[in-house]
C-alpha cells in the first residue's frame, strides 16, 4: 500500500487529540517552570520540547512500518527489551531505583518500552493460526510473557509500570476469545489475595467463587482444585504481604486511610486533592496555582501534572481532557472491533488498554481513587522515554487502524 494512501486512510484526529493533550501538558509545564529560566536548555520545558523530535520520529517509523514486519520482529523486540530490563541493575541506582539506563544527560526507561512491546509479543502469540483457543495450555506462555517482566520491573522497584505490563494480558485474552473460565482462573487468585486480609470479605468471596464455579459446569475435579487452591492462596497471602517492600506496603496501606500519614505518601494525595478542589470550575488561571507554585504539590511535572491542570484551568478543562481521552480510547476499541486482521486488532486493543490504564491510574491517583503508583499521564506528563513511548504506541495504533483491503 502506498504511504500516501495510508496517510489518507489513517484516523488522523487521533494525532490531533494527542497534540491538544500535549499542548495542555506543555502549558501546565510552562506554568510550573516559572521559578526557573523557562526557555533555557536545562529547563524541563525546553527538554520536553526537544523530546518531541525523537517522539515524532518514532511515531512516523511505527506508522510507516509494514504490519508484517512488526509482526515478524515482535518476538525479537520482546527479547531485546527484556534484556534491556536487566541493564540498570549493572549500574549504580539512580534515585534509589534501577529504572533508568543513563547516557550522559539522557535517561531512558526500558520498562516504558516493555509495556507496548509486551502487547506486540502477546498479539503475535495470540494471532498464531495454530493456536487452540479452547485449550487451557495455550494461555500459559502469555502469562509467562507478562509475569516475568512484571516481577523484574516490580523489583526495580516500579510497581506502577509493572502493573501496566501485566494489565493488557487479560483484556487481550478476552478480546481474542479465550474461554472466560480460564480468565476466571487468573482473576480468582487476585481476588483471593485481596480479600484474604478481611475474614468477612474472604468468606463472601469464597461463596461467590463457589457459585461461579458451579455455573460454569466444568469438570468437578478442576473446579474443586481451583476452589481449594484459592482458599490456600488466601491463607498464604499474609506471608506474601510481609515479603513486600515496606514502601510498597506503605502505599497500599496509606490508600486505606489517607489521614493516618499526612506527611508521607498521603501528603501528596491531600495536596493534590487540595490543588484540584481549589481550582473550582474555572480554575485559578495560568500561573496562579498557589498549591503548585508554592511547591506544596510534589512531582507536579510528572505524576501530578493533572493536579496542576485541575488547579489552574478548572473543571471545564478537566472535563474536556477526560472527554478527549475517552474519545481516543473508545475509537481505538471501535477500530479494533472493525478490523478483521487478528494481530492488528489485538495490538490496537492492547494499546487502548495501556492508555486506559495509564489515564485511570494516574488521574485516579490525583483524586485519591487509587493509591499513589507513580504512573505518568499520556501526552501530558513530563518524561522523555514516556513521550517517545506514547508516540510509538500512537504510531502503532494508527498503523494497525489502516487495514489493507
Amino acid at each position: 500500500m502506498h504511504f500516501q494512501e495510508k496517510i489518507n486512510r489513517a484516523p488522523k484526529y487521533w494525532l490531533i487529540i494527542s497534540f491538544i493533550l500535549n499542548i495542555v501538558g506543555l502549558i501546565a509545564l510552562y506554568s510550573i517552570s516559572q521559578d526557573q529560566v523557562v526557555l533555557s536548555f536545562s529547563s524541563r520545558f525546553t527538554k520536553f520540547i526537544f523530546w518531541f523530535i525523537p517522539a515524532i520520529g518514532v511515531f512516523v517509523l511505527f506508522f510507516y512500518l509494514p504490519i508484517k514486519i512488526i509482526h515478524d520482529y515482535s518476538y525479537i523486540a520482546l527479547f531485546i527489551t527484556f534484556i534491556f530490563l536487566f541493564i540498570p541493575y549493572f549500574f549504580d541506582p539512580i534515585a534509589g531505583t534501577h529504572r533508568w539506563i543513563s547516557f550522559g544527560y539522557l535517561r531512558f526507561q526500558p520498562a516504558e518500552i516493555m509495556k507496548w512491546i509486551t502487547v506486540l509479543g502477546l498479539s503475535r502469540y495470540l494471532s498464531d493460526q495454530k493456536l487452540k483457543l479452547k485449550n487451557f495450555s495455550t494461555i500459559i506462555p502469555p502469562v509467562l510473557f507478562t509475569l516475568i517482566p512484571f516481577f523484574i520491573i516490580a523489583k526495580q522497584p516500579d510497581l506502577g509500570s509493572a502493573i501496566i505490563v501485566f494489565a493488557p494480558l487479560i483484556p487481550l485474552l478476552f478480546w481474542v476469545g479465550v474461554d472466560t473460565f480460564y480468565i476466571l482462573c487468573f482473576l480468582a487468585p487476585i481476588f483471593s489475595i485481596l480479600m484474604a486480609f478481611h475474614i468477612f470479605s474472604f468468606t463472601i468471596w469464597v461463596g461467590i467463587f463457589a457459585i461461579i464455579l458451579y455455573l460454569y459446569k466444568k469438570n468437578i475435579l478442576i473446579s474443586l482444585t481451583l476452589f481449594f487452591g484459592n482458599i490456600f492462596l488466601g491463607l498464604l497471602s499474609p506471608v506474601i504481604w510481609n515479603s513486600l517492600n515496606s514502601y510498597q506496603q506503605g502505599r497500599i496501606l496509606v490508600f486505606l486511610d489517607v489521614t493516618k500519614d499526612p506527611l508521607g505518601a498521603a501528603y501528596q494525595v491531600i495536596q493534590s486533592q487540595t490543588a484540584i478542589g481549589s481550582g473550582g470550575f474555572w480554575g485559578k488561571g495560568f500561573g496562579n496555582g498557589s498549591q503548585t507554585h508554592l511547591k506544596f504539590l510534589p512531582e507536579q511535572e510528572t505524576d501530578f501534572i493533572f493536579s496542576v491542570v485541575g488547579e489552574e484551568f478548572g473543571f471545564l478543562v478537566v472535563s474536556i481532557i477526560l472527554i478527549l481521552f475517552a474519545i481516543l480510547i473508545l475509537d481505538m476499541i471501535q477500530k479494533a472491533f472493525k478490523l478483521s486482521e487478528r494481530f492488528s486488532s489485538l495490538v490496537l486493543f492492547g494499546i487502548a488498554v495501556i492508555f486506559m490504564c495509564h489515564v485511570f491510574v494516574n488521574i485516579g491517583m490525583t483524586v485519591n481513587l487509587l493509591p499513589v503508583k507513580g504512573l505518568p499521564l499520556p501526552f501530558l506528563s513530563y518524561g522523555g522515554t514516556f513521550l517517545v513511548s506514547c508516540y510509538a504506541m500512537l504510531g502503532l495504533a494508527m498503523n494497525m487502524a489502516v487495514e489493507e483491503k
Binding site: S278, K295, I333, S340
Partner: protein
C-alpha cells in the same frame, strides 16, 4: 499478509465500551465532587496552606500629663523568633544564633521552651537585640532557615530627666499563664507585656491595643515568598492615650524637693479631686523595667532598705501627728464641747492618772485658747479636750472624714490605714487594758491611728471645700465631678478652721509661718504635724490648702524621720504652692 482473522461479536466491544465509559464516568464524578461540590472546602485548605499569619504588635497608648507633655511613650526593640518546624538542624542553628547574638545558648533554649506555642508558630527566643546582632543574623540568613526577627514595642520615657512618676505610672511585666487564661488568648499571647503596677495596670484595657495580623505567603517548606496580595492584613490598633491630671511642673518640682529623702507628696485640686502631683521617694527608674526584668536590677531594688519600689503616697501608712488635731477640733466644736475662747494652761506636761503626758514645748505654752493651741500646736490643750470626748465619738468622726477607708482612687493598690475604735481597742488591749489615756494619744494624732498621705490630702481638700468629699482621680478619663460625700458641719466650725489654719501659715506664731505666700496673693492654710515613731526622728507632716483667684489646691507632705513638720514639711509646701500658682 497475515492470515489469521478475527471475527468479533459486538458483545466484547460493548463490554469494553461499558468498562471504559464507567471508568471515565468515575473520574468525572470525582472531579465534579472535588471542584464543584467541595470547592469551598478545598479553597480554604489551599489558602491555609500558603498563608502564615504573623502578629504585628500594637503600640501601647501613650501617657501624658494634664498639660499634654508625654511621659510614657513607645519605642521599638528587635526580637528574634524561630519556627521550630522550619529549622533544618535545630541544634546547629541555635548554636549559631547564640553566637551571632552573643548570648548563652541555654538562654535561647530556655526561651524556646518557655514561649513555645506550637511547631508552626513563631517562638520568641531573644529580646532587645543589638544592631550588631541583627546585622549578623541578616548576613547569615541562609544558614538560619526558620529564624527571623521582628519589631517589638516597649515603653520609653522621653522626659525621664525631669520627671519620674515611677510609682504612679507603674511598669509592665510579661503576662503569666493564669493571666493569659483569664484575659483571653485572643488578645494576649505568651511573651506579651501587661500592666503590672500603677496606671499601666489600672488602665490596661485602655492602654493595650489590639494586635494586627500580617499574612505572609509561604511555600511548602515554610519559606516566606512575600506578603499576601489578595488578603489584606489586619492592622494593629494602637492602645488609647491617657491624660493624667498630674501637673508636669508641680510633679517635677515635688520630686526635686523630696530628692534624697524618704517621703511622699500628694497634691489634689480641692474643687474636683484631680490629683495634681503624687510623689513617693525614693523611687526607681522605670526604664530598668521596660524591656523585661533584669534580675540583678530587681534584686538591688528589692534589697534596698529605703524600699524604692514602695509607693509611700498611696500605700505608706503613718501616724498623722498634730495635723490630726484638726479632727479633734471639729469634734469639740460640732458637739459644743468647748468654747473656742476658753483658755487652758500649758505647763509643758499633763498629768493623767499616774502617767504624765508632755507637750512638745517642754517649757510650756502658758495660757492659750483653742485657736492659739492649734497655731502653736499645743498638746496639753488637746489633752484637755480629750477628757470631754469618747472613743466612739472620735472614731465616728474619723470615719465620717473617710479615714480608715479606701479613697477609691484610680489606682490598683492603696492602703486604708487604721482608725481605732472601741472594738479594736478591746481586742488589742483587753477590755480593761486601755482607758482615757489612749484617747489623749489619739487626740494629738498618735497611737492606734495610721493614715496615708493621700487620705490626708483628701482630708485637706474636704476642709478647703467646706465638706465636699470627692473621689480623687489620677487620670482624666471620665470628666465628672462626683462628690461622693457632703460632710455637713456648722458654718462657724468651717470658719474657725479656715481662720486658724490660715494663721498657722500667716501668723508669726504659726508653726508653718511663711509671710512670702500672702505677698504673692496666695492664701495658704495648713497644719503641721510631727509624728513620733519607733524608727528614730519624727516624721514631718504638713497638711493644708492654698488658693489664689479661683484655684484651690490641697496637699499633704510627709518626710520620714526628718524632724518637725514646721521646719521640714512646711517649707516644702510653700515651695510647691508657689510653683503651682506661678501659672495663675
Amino acid at each position: 499478509m497475515l492470515k489469521t482473522k478475527i471475527y468479533q461479536n459486538s458483545f466484547k466491544r460493548d463490554v469494553s465500551f461499558l468498562i471504559v465509559i464507567i471508568l471515565f464516568f468515575i473520574l468525572f464524578l470525582k472531579f465534579f465532587q472535588l471542584q464543584i461540590l467541595k470547592y469551598e472546602k478545598y479553597q480554604i485548605l489551599a489558602d491555609a496552606n500558603r498563608i502564615r499569619a504573623v502578629a504585628s504588635p500594637a503600640p501601647r497608648g501613650n501617657i501624658f500629663t494634664r498639660d499634654g507633655r508625654i511621659i510614657a511613650a513607645n519605642k521599638s526593640i528587635y526580637t528574634v523568633s524561630l519556627i521550630k518546624d522550619e529549622l533544618i538542624d535545630e541544634d546547629l542553628e541555635i548554636q549559631k544564633l547564640a553566637e551571632y547574638l552573643n548570648k548563652d545558648k541555654k538562654i535561647i533554649i530556655n526561651n524556646l521552651n518557655k514561649y513555645y506555642q506550637g511547631r508552626y508558630l513563631p517562638t520568641l527566643v531573644a529580646k532587645n537585640i543589638s544592631i550588631e546582632g541583627l546585622s549578623l543574623i541578616e548576613e547569615h540568613r541562609y544558614e538560619l532557615p526558620g529564624v527571623f526577627y521582628s519589631n517589638f514595642p516597649i515603653r520609653y520615657y522621653p522626659n525621664k530627666e525631669t520627671i519620674n512618676l515611677s510609682h504612679t505610672l507603674g511598669y509592665l511585666r510579661e503576662i503569666n499563664p493564669s493571666e493569659l487564661k483569664e484575659l483571653g488568648e485572643d488578645i494576649y499571647s505568651k511573651g506579651d507585656y501587661i500592666g503590672f503596677q500603677g496606671i499601666e495596670k489600672y488602665y490596661e484595657k485602655i492602654l493595650n491595643g489590639k494586635k494586627g495580623i500580617n499574612y505572609h505567603q509561604v511555600d511548602a517548606l515554610g519559606r516566606e515568598v512575600g506578603l499576601m496580595i489578595d488578603k489584606n492584613p489586619v492592622p494593629s490598633i494602637p492602645g488609647k492615650d491617657i491624660y493624667l491630671n498630674i501637673d508636669y511642673d508641680l510633679q517635677s518640682k515635688g520630686e526635686n524637693l523630696l530628692d534624697g529623702q524618704k517621703g511622699a507628696i500628694v497634691v489634689v485640686d480641692s474643687k474636683n479631686g484631680e490629683i495634681l502631683s503624687l510623689v513617693s521617694k525614693p523611687d526607681f527608674l522605670l526604664e530598668d523595667f521596660s524591656a523585661g526584668m533584669d534580675f540583678e536590677i530587681w534584686d538591688s531594688y528589692s534589697k534596698d532598705s529605703s524600699r524604692p519600689l514602695f509607693n509611700r503616697a498611696l500605700q505608706g501608712i503613718y501616724p498623722p501627728g498634730s495635723s490630726f488635731k484638726l479632727l479633734t477640733v471639729i469634734i469639740a466644736l460640732e458637739n459644743n464641747l468647748i468654747n473656742p475662747k476658753k483658755n487652758f494652761f500649758c505647763s509643758g506636761k499633763y498629768e493623767f492618772g499616774d502617767r504624765e503626758f508632755g507637750c512638745w514645748m517642754e517649757t510650756g505654752h502658758g495660757k492659750l485658747n483653742l485657736s492659739s493651741a492649734i497655731i502653736q500646736s499645743c498638746n496639753v490643750y488637746f489633752y484637755e479636750i480629750a477628757q470631754m470626748i469618747s472613743i466612739d465619738l472620735w472614731s465616728n468622726y474619723a470615719n465620717k472624714f473617710n479615714f480608715g477607708k479606701f479613697t477609691n482612687i484610680d489606682f490598683p493598690s492603696e492602703s486604708k490605714g487604721l482608725i481605732a475604735n472601741r472594738n479594736y481597742m478591746n481586742k488589742k488591749y483587753g477590755r480593761w487594758g486601755w482607758a482615757g489615756g489612749s484617747l489623749l494619744h489619739l487626740s494629738i494624732g498618735q497611737g492606734d491611728l495610721l493614715v496615708t498621705p493621700l487620705q490626708m490630702a483628701v482630708f485637706a481638700s474636704v476642709l478647703a471645700s467646706k465638706g465636699n468629699y470627692i473621689q480623687p482621680r489620677i487620670a482624666n478619663i471620665e470628666n465628672k465631678e462626683d462628690i461622693l460625700n457632703k460632710i455637713k458641719l456648722k458654718e462657724s466650725t468651717w470658719d474657725f478652721l479656715h481662720k486658724t489654719m490660715f494663721d498657722v501659715v500667716n501668723d508669726n506664731q504659726g508653726t508653718a509661718y511663711d509671710p512670702s505666700l500672702i505677698k504673692l496673693n496666695i492664701e495658704s492654710y495648713g497644719k503641721t504635724g510631727t509624728a513620733e515613731n519607733a524608727h528614730g526622728e519624727p516624721h514631718a507632716w504638713f497638711v493644708g490648702f492654698a488658693k489664689k483667684n479661683d484655684k484651690n489646691i490641697s496637699l499633704s507632705i510627709i518626710v520620714e524621720n526628718s524632724g518637725t513638720g514646721g521646719s521640714i514639711a512646711a517649707p516644702i509646701s510653700s515651695k510647691l504652692i508657689k510653683e503651682y500658682f506661678k501659672k495663675f
